[in-house]
């Protein structure tokens, strides 16, 4: 039997086990929407296409599955670009289907035509324009395969309207192999042996983990390895949750707003074991003084990550999980009393942790944003899924909430996309209806995708938005304060809307916290509500995020509280 392109697309999604589609209809994709009710997917109608991509991204990050979006041509497609770039920078598996004008009109500047394949070429793992309905099933198969294997990433599939209407017989390839794409998973045994010997020789080892641990599912083996061989662990922002924060080997995040202990440990370590991280400038600070005493082992699935920013001693191109398993085995065969070998180093680290913990000045009259996040942690015991916007709110969420599990901290790390957190929380909540999902937001960021309150209300999602409202674009203001003579140009948001009234206008719940004494009781009450809930917390306007390593400085040049 022959099916139309639209039906074939939906059949393919069924074969891929897709459960949710985040989308927004339009002329070029009506054919697909026409058939959608006949399929078992849950379609989530967002209010802006950027929201669709971030929601699919939040769904993907919180589950490890591929997130799926469906939008129309032209502006529908261009609105997805920020979301796609966000997913690309953080290696999130997405497949984004965009409508396109009929093939005969492509290149004619037709209504709602845009070359989305051209536009997204540098911010996708790969993209496709389907020109013939006969190629459709194979391309969809390739799209999911590419998005979810190797280093994951977003894939765009552009679907001209006439291809969606054309008919052909449907068959879905069960397996696929591409001659030009063969991700390398197995670690090189010799390199693993060398790495193990290096670790054995050293006395001050440190694991520097990144998002790759989470995407490869290597958190358990990492935890086992660290505990067994007494190796302390720090991670990047993307790696939070890869190692249980309550563990004594945990140092907190490293880098620009990393902990004193983590940055000092990097500086003094003699063997740095980097796993699924990419030596980003926010992590390394001044590259030439990064980990100056250490031999570096770098495990990453993407060969381009290795030696891109930092010269390493033992590169290992492999899946993080497989590499750590091999390394664990190798280390187990060594007759070493690790506890004893690393005792001095661990003592030194404890000293750093105790002398300079993350701290802030508590106040009787003003609400400190750190206190709000800390209280949220206490009330939820680290069991919530936290998403964040970008800026100070994100850093406080990283510092003062402690993550026990992978996929429980969801944040735009690489691209730093304001407006990410709330739609991502919607995606995460849909994937985990039973869990508490909180978007830790700022008053600036939340306004970048606040229209999605309508989505959250429509689907009755009990997402919580905790706005750390300081009336500023806080992180930019902090830089202006510290490095630009307090010239607060364009960072003051002095006519913010009444967020509580706004929440209510959308049909959500709204709470306001003004005094420190209100933080705990109001949060307690708000977290119990089974509806979308905005908690507008008026915090100390000029509170800064510390520690801070100024951009381009060495990690040891930290500004402390």
């Amino acid at each position: 039997m022959e099916l139309t392109g639209a039906q074939i697309l939906l059949e393919c999604l069924k074969k891929e086990g897709v459960s949710h589609i985040f989308g927004f209809p339009g002329g070029a994709v009506i054919d697909i929407y026409h058939h959608l009710p006949n399929y078992p997917f849950r379609h989530i109608l967002v209010r802006h296409e950027q929201g669709a991509v971030h929601a699919a991204d939040g769904y993907a990050r919180s589950t490890g599955k591929v997130g799926v979006c469906l939008v129309t041509s032209g502006p529908g497609a261009t609105n997805t670009v920020t979301g796609i770039a966000t997913a690309y920078m953080d290696s999130v598996p997405l497949v984004v289907f965009t409508g396109q004008v009929p093939t005969a009109l492509i290149g004619n500047d037709a209504f709602q035509e845009v070359d989305i394949v051209g536009i997204t070429r540098p911010c996708t793992k790969h993209n496709f324009l389907v020109k013939d309905v006969k190629d459709l099933a194979f391309i969809v198969k390739k799209a999911f395969y590419i998005a979810s294997t190797g280093r994951p990433g977003p894939v765009v599939v552009d679907l001209p309207k006439d291809v969606m209407q054309a008919k052909t017989a449907f068959s879905y390839p069960e397996k696929i192999s591409l001659r030009s794409y063969n991700p390398h998973y197995e670690p090189n045994k010799k390199q693993i042996k060398k790495a193990a010997r290096l670790i054995a020789k050293g006395s001050r080892p440190l694991i520097y983990g990144g998002g790759g641990i989470i995407s490869s599912g290597a958190h358990d083996i990492l935890t086992l390895l660290a505990r067994k061989f007494k190796i302390p662990v720090t991670t990047t922002l993307m790696g939070l949750g890869a190692f249980p924060a309550p563990d004594e080997l945990w140092l907190g995040m490293l880098g620009m707003h990393g902990t004193y202990a983590a940055n000092m440990a990097v500086n003094n370590s003699d063997v740095l074991i980097s796993v699924g991280a990419r030596f980003d400038d926010r992590v390394t600070g001044k590259v030439s003084t990064f980990a100056p005493r250490a031999k570096i082992i770098h495990i990453d699935i993407d060969p381009t990550s290795i030696r891109k920013n930092v010269q390493v001693d033992i590169p290992i191109v492999a899946d993080c999980k497989l590499a750590l398993e091999a390394l664990l085995q190798e280390l187990e065969e060594m007759d070493i009393n690790w506890e004893q070998e690393h005792r001095d180093w661990l003592d030194k680290i404890t000293e750093w942790k105790e002398s300079h913990p993350l701290r802030y000045e508590q106040s009787e009259t003003k609400v400190k944003p750190q206190f709000v996040v800390e209280t949220l942690y206490e009330l939820t015991q680290g069991e919530a899924i936290i998403t964040t916007e970008v800026g100070q709110n994100q850093m406080w969420a990283a510092q003062f909430y402690h993550y026990k599990y992978p996929r429980s901290f969801i944040s735009s790390g690489g691209l730093g996309t304001m407006g990410y957190g709330f739609p991502a929380a919607i995606g995460a909540q849909l994937a985990h209806p039973e869990r508490l999902v909180v978007d830790i937001a700022g008053d600036g960021s939340i306004q970048m995708n606040i229209q999605e309150l309508a989505t959250a209300v429509s689907y009755d999602l009990p997402v919580k938005i905790l706005i750390l409202n300081n009336g500023y674009l806080g992180m930019v203001r902090q830089w202006q304060e510290l490095f630009y003579d307090k010239n607060y140009c364009a960072t003051c948001l002095h006519k913010n809307p009444d967020f509580v009234a706004l929440a209510k206008a959308y049909g959500a719940e709204g709470f306001r916290i003004i005094k420190p004494q209100e933080v705990r009781p109001v949060l307690e009450e708000a977290l119990k509500i089974k509806k979308p809930t905005v908690i507008d917390v008026w915090v100390e306007p000029e509170e800064n995020v510390y520690p801070m390593v100024p951009a381009g400085a060495s990690l040891t040049e930290m500004l402390l509280v």
């Binding site: 394949v117 051209g118 070429r121 540098p122 793992k125 993407d302 060969p303």
Partner: protein, 161 residues
């Protein structure tokens, strides 16, 4: 340092822009780029010459390999290879200059491919140094027009130390 990269790619729309976009987006430079079909209809061969230190060229090669439509990348700089470029030069050759231009063409084994009373068009094939040398020699006669193919290269079958 100059590197010659031989890049096998899927012969499909957009592949050139993926490669070119990679270079421009990451700030790598392309000195020349030549694309042509191979004997297999669905594969094309690109020959890219680029400059950069070891770390940059390593990144270029890795980034190229990461493109889904790239099948194989070989850096011919580390191998013995035959390298050729073709140039068409239209050079002034009036009256008394004509004989000398023809003599130079002969020495360099150029072909005269077009003639007019005032100029000659020469076809030259060679590696970069040869091309540079003849351009130097012909410049004083006045080069009117100039078209250059970019380098193509093949690895030598016998790699002799």
């Amino acid at each position: 340092m100059r590197h010659v990269l031989s890049v096998l790619v899927e012969n499909e729309p957009g592949v050139l822009s993926r490669v070119a976009g990679l270079f421009s987006g990451r700030g790598f430079n392309i000195e020349s780029l030549n694309v042509g079909p191979t004997l297999e209809p669905d594969i094309s061969l690109m020959t890219i010459t680029t400059r950069g230190d070891e770390q940059i060229v390593e990144q270029i090669v890795k980034q190229l390999r990461k493109l889904i439509t790239v099948i194989k990348v070989v850096d011919l700089t580390y191998e013995q290879a035959v390298e050729r470029e073709m140039v068409l030069i239209k050079v002034n050759a009036e009256d008394e200059k004509r004989a000398e231009v023809l003599r130079i063409a002969d020495i360099f084994r150029c072909k005269v491919v077009d003639v007019s009373p005032s100029d000659l068009t020469l076809e030259i094939t060679g590696d970069q140094n040869k091309i540079k040398a003849i351009i130097n020699l012909l410049q004083r006669f006045g080069i009117k027009e100039f078209a250059r193919s970019g380098t193509v290269a093949l690895r030598r079958s016998m790699q002799i130390d």
